[in-house]
Amino acid sequence: MSKHHHAHHFDSAEAEFEASKFGVWVFLCTEILMFGGLFVGYILYAGKYPEVFEAGSQFLDWKLGAINTAVLLLSSYTIAISIRNIQTGETKKAINNMIITLLCGFAFMGIKGYEYNHKFHLGLYPGKYFSYDAKAHHGDVKDTAPGDHNKPELMDNLPENIPMYFSFYFLMTGIHGTHVLIGMGLIFWCLMRTRRGDFSPDYYTGLEGAALFWHLVDLVWIYLFPLLYLV
């Protein structure tokens, strides 16, 4: 068991914890502004060309998006619980909850990979790389949005700037996916540190920071899911 001693320039372990946490929050703010730029672009273009975004979302399977939402919510829940486990000294439970969080991360990326693969297969690339052939793939696109959003006539008559939708789709989900991978790395690091006995009810700053980052990734997806899948 290694015992953590706060750095000499802090009055107490508590001051160190608060300062570290504030640093993480400032970083999360920059993250919100970065994703925010993408969201602003999305909302303005979706307002200007609603038909493009409606047609684009027809290519997405809302069921996969909904499953991924539930998976990320579960992972946020388990990582929050793992902090509670550390606070109450239940290290074994904390490790189990971190493992569940990691598995959720793998599930999310797996589903995302499956979706990407399907789009690449159809030639639904972003921007100028877009090479989807509506005639060749007629009926091959699994639909997708619930209820009256099922509009086959839209699929045959795609708006001219439909590639723009996929530029937004790949940019936003791609950057989000990168964050999921980084978050998984951080949680793996916390898992190793917990196993080593670094964390105790008195010290778990690293886990707190990693968990905050993981929650932010979840927050971004909470907005991405309705915007991209349920237009």
């Binding site: 929650h215 909470i222 915007l227």
Partner: protein, 101 residues
């Protein structure tokens, strides 16, 4: 000393928040089936904001901790709103010049 200062939320709170988040997700999917025009996006964003608030307040512990963190987060959101508002005004007020000759 620090252990006692950290608020430990009861398991029940985590469970209730998690279940609520799942219900809200189902609600978003359900509401997307009906066509309310522009209201659809608005409702979806409202529900998403309720979900985000729940995650922030309970999973990220904002509710029980020093307000510094919440202020930090909200200042980011504030500047985001400024960015959105100014770009929206710019885009919305542009006059598309078309050749009428």
């Amino acid at each position: 000393m620090s252990a006692n200062e950290h608020h430990i939320m009861p398991m029940k709170t985590y469970n209730v928040v998690f279940i609520t988040l799942l219900i809200l997700t189902a609600f978003t999917v359900l509401i997307a089936q009906f066509d309310f025009g522009a209201m659809n996006t608005l409702i979806a964003m409202l529900v998403a904001t309720v979900k985000a608030t729940l995650v922030g307040m309970y999973f990220m512990h904002l509710k029980y901790e020093d307000k510094t963190y919440a202020v930090c987060l909200l200042s980011g959101v504030f500047f985001l709103i400024i960015m959105f508002a100014f770009i929206a005004v710019d885009v919305g007020s542009r006059v598309i010049e078309t050749n009428t000759l």
